[in-house]
Structures are given as structure tokens and as C-alpha cells.
Symmetry: C2
Subunit: 349 residues, 2 copies
Amino acid sequence: MQKEPLNLLFIGFGNVGRKLASILSVEKAGYSGLTGFSPRVIGIITRRHGALVNYDGLKLRDVLAFYQNNAGFNHKHPDFTEMDAKTAVNKLPYNVLVELSTLSIADRGEPARSYIQSALEQGKHVVSANKGPLAFSYLDLKLLADRNDCMLLHEATVMDGTPVFNLARTALYGCQITRVSGILTSTTNYILTAMEGGVSFDQALHQIQVMGIAEADPTYDIDGWDSAAKICILANAFLSGCLTPLQIPRQGIREISGRDIETNSGQGKKLKLIGSAWMENNRAAARVAVESIPIDHPFANIRGTGSVLQIETDLMSPLIIAHMSPGLNDTAFGVINDLLTISREFQRD
Amino acid sequence: MQKEPLNLLFIGFGNVGRKLASILSVEKAGYSGLTGFSPRVIGIITRRHGALVNYDGLKLRDVLAFYQNNAGFNHKHPDFTEMDAKTAVNKLPYNVLVELSTLSIADRGEPARSYIQSALEQGKHVVSANKGPLAFSYLDLKLLADRNDCMLLHEATVMDGTPVFNLARTALYGCQITRVSGILTSTTNYILTAMEGGVSFDQALHQIQVMGIAEADPTYDIDGWDSAAKICILANAFLSGCLTPLQIPRQGIREISGRDIETNSGQGKKLKLIGSAWMENNRAAARVAVESIPIDHPFANIRGTGSVLQIETDLMSPLIIAHMSPGLNDTAFGVINDLLTISREFQRD
């Protein structure tokens, strides 16, 4: 059906990248919705764990086993290369860049932002699970993509694979979104929920690190940077904003004490870290703040690692979309759904 | 941009039809997402309130005023006609049938089902806000639509305009849906919520009838028929089922007493009327039942006229989509979103 197969270049091969590779190879037969979807991965470039390139497509099943056995890629793999990401993005014959490296606030989304820009300048599609480039340069990158008739998709950047951007792009077509708000960071919501049960902040943080959900350096989550990046992407994508995480009011949960939780509980409320974006004087505004949520509000029952987004529009009454227990599969699905969207567009040409 | 304008034929002109006409005329300027969307309504056929036809497009603003002043259409309107729905569906030069009449369980979705079938047989697109035809004949109608290369869309049939089918069609592409469950009927959820506050069943029913949300004859809602029709549409659309509301286990809320509510409340639970559909031995199964929902479950905080649907898939962890206070606007938006989808497909031809 496809005129041209999807040739993917992965930048990054962390948890999400490896899960994605696994779904597309080892696990694929178990998912009937993926029948007939066979993109080739022609390159995987990591910053500290080596790189592989094979124009005919890497054998993902073997690649995963090799990575696990060797804690990365090295010269023993037949497809091993010394090529760096910048060269790969500029030289390899991929048609979709899949950006899977991690958020960098200090570097304002770099170097991923530059890679995405280079790919789009070459007329290649981009799928990003990395929040940074979208949080810092959404508008520039989107304009570049539109100018070059490429797709720039990023479903996995907010609420894992929950179809937030997809929902807005198709299902809410005809509505103008006026406000979005929600619980966007799993780590902080897990800690606040655990603290309701009497666990200390430090214990709760330790628990979620052991679960492998919080980063080894959980600062971005705890201090609200993760939520700030996500709400900026939402503000920029839905409200035509031009905000960056550095510009918006931001609060983390580091200062929340067990007593704060108890006091709120006594008043029938729960503390939640909420990202919000709205229109103010015809411009997008956003913030991240700890808010007291009444116990009968739909956000109150989003516990643990769950996340939720309320979408307000001009035409409809508020919609809520929630994800109860997102995991790696969900983030990987966000990328896959974007790839399927590109694949369908390819078929249509 | 459109090769051919959308020429709509409305069957029915109740609350939803009039709201839809109002959004497309009187209110349109206020909704920037509808800029450039100018379908023509060439006929409005009602069962008991007369009919209008004008091949150049009815003047909806005047039509609404006339309807209000005359409690329907009559020979004083220049576009008045004695044409019945069957004739209109077979003879008029519309390209989208908009079926807006009400659910009939006793007649198994007729006569709307036949109108939709006739339209599809002529190669015309169909948008239905009427649950009956989809609840009783989803598979036949869908196959007919596919065979004739027509669209059969019905976003407004479940959860008003909340993009349930749209979500599944695009945003969950690549996943297989394995189970759906939720609170699907506003009237029953309103009554159960009011009873939690000590109001009697009869008082609560009276309240919601005064609000104009329950039908004058609320039997379909109270006895679970409305939920049954909706869960059948979901089962048939998402799980390739072939179920009708007459075939599935169904419970209503007529027998629920204040004491039942209190007993559950004492156990940290709330009673909710839940529609569920799932796969069982490779076949779709469904039911409607009153269920005890733990107070910290996301369904528990869906109060009053709110509705909610949990979608389980093979690839992702469960998603929840909720609507807190749906109104007529939302149902009308469901129809408009379907019309926009057809309009975009037209542009693509």
C-alpha cells in the first residue's frame, strides 16, 4: 500500500526507544492493529552507548539482545558506526527522524532542537518524544515543517501516548480551545498521593525511583520543569502561544509538607501539581502551581502515576481525558501512532 | 476549497436540530473554528411539525424564527412542502443525510434506519445523531456505507459530542480496543447523584424533566434502554459486534431506593448505571447494570449530567474520557464535527 517504506532514524535508545523497538519486532505479532506496519530503522544513534547504521534496516530483535548483553553498542556489532547524531541527521537516507533523547532545560532543548530543525530543512518528517525542542521552539519548528510540507508530530511528549494532540487535530476540529489544565507529571502526582497515605516526601521519592519512573535526577519533575515543558507545548500547540518553560510562573512540590497535605485533607481537598494554559488579552499564558483540588473534582481521583487533562473550548462544555497508570508501552504507543499517521499520509500521496 | 458544497437534508428538527441550525447561522460568527464552513440545508422534514424544502438552501435564521413563532412549519412559509421523509430521502438532491429524529426501541430504530439505508444505497453520506439505526443495524449499515464508498458518522450518538468515535478512528489507530465501560446516560446519573443528596427518585426525576434533559417519557433512560442502545453502538463499532439493545442484559435504576444509596455510601461506594462491552470467546458481549463504584474510582466523581467512558486496549493502559456537563451545544457539535470530517473528505477527492 505504501509508496515508500518508512525509513526511521532513532536519536536516543533509552527506555522508550528500546520499548518501541521491542513492540516493532519481538512483540509485534501480539498486536493485530500493527499488522502490515513495518517501518525500517536504518540508524540508532546514542550519545554514550554507541551507534548502529544499516541502510537495509537494522534487525531490531538482534539489536535489542545485543544492547542488553553489552550495555550498549560496540564494534562487535556488524552495524556499529562511530557516526555522531549531527552527521547522521544530515547524511543518512531516512525519511522520518524519531527523536527519543531526554529533556534538557539547561540547554533549552538542544541538541535535539537542532537535529529536528536539520531534518525538517531537508524535508523529512519528525516524530519527537523529547519535550525540549517543542517546549522551547514549537512555533519556529512548526512553521518550518509547514513550509517544507513535512509532518512534525509529538504525541508522546504530553501524557505519554494519550492522544491529546491527535484529539485536538481531528476530534475537536471546528472548536477553538480556550483553556487546558491538568496533572501532567507522574512523579509528582505519585509523591503527593503517597504523602496522603502518611509516607514522607523522601520515602515517596525513593519509591518511585525504585519503580523506574522518576529519573535518577528527579529535579525536573520535583521542581515543576517537566510540567512546565508540557504545558508550554500545549499552550503553543493549542493556543498559538510562543512560551518557553523559562518564561512561565512555575512551582514545584519540594516545599510541600505532610502537614500541608493533612490540612487540605481536613478541608476535603487534595494538593495537586497543576499545569494550566489559557488565553489572556489575546495571548497564551501558562503556569505550573500546586493547587487545592476539592475531593469531588475529577482531578482528585487521579492518583499515583495517573495524569489528566481538562480541555475547554468555545463550542463544547469541558472535556476530560485521563490516563490511570501510564507506562513505557503508552509512551512508545504515542510514537507509533505518530508513525502510523505519517504512514497514512505517505499512502495518500 | 470544496469541490462541491455540502447539501444537507435534516430529518427531524427537535432540540438538537434547532441548536445545530442556530450554530450554523445565528451563532456562527462567534465560533472562529467554523469560518469557511457553510453547508446548505436544502430540506428539513419533521414528522409532526411540517417540512421545508429549498434547493438553493434554506435561510436558517428565518427558519428558526418561523419555527419558534409558529410552533412548527406551515403553508405560510414560502418553502413549505407536504413532502414526507421517505420521499425526501429518495428524491431530493442532498449529499449528506442528517438524521436527527429520536430513538425508538419499540420500532427497532425505524423509520430512521430505512432512511439511512436508502441514502447510503444512493451513495450519499449520512450523519446520525439518532441512536436507533446504529444500535439495531450497525453492521449492515456500515457494510453498505463501505461498499458504496460513503461515510456513515454518528459521533453525537454516544456522550453527546465528546469525540469517542473520532478518538478511536484516528487517535487510537494501531491499538485494538478490548473493553469499554462507562456512565452513558445523563438522566440516570443525575437522579442517582441527586438521591445521594437525600432527594427522592420521583423528585430527582421531576427536577431533570424541568431542566429539559430527560424526555417527557423518561422510560428509555430510567429503564436502561438509552444506555443499552449506546453500549451496543460502542460494542458494534469498536469490537465488531452484532448486538442489539434487545439482546443484552439490561438493568435500570427504577428499583434503586434511598436506602440502597445510603448503604453503599456507608461502604465508601456510589451506585452508578454502567454500560460495558468486552470480548468474550472472540465475540463482543455487553450489558447495562447498576454497579457499586468505590469513591476513589474516577467514575465516582462523574456527577449530575456528566458522562464518562473508559477505553481499554491491547497496547495502552486504560484511557478515560469524560464530559462534566454536556448540553445541547455538545450534541450539536458532534454533528458538526462529523460534517466537517465529510467536508474534508470532499476536499480531498
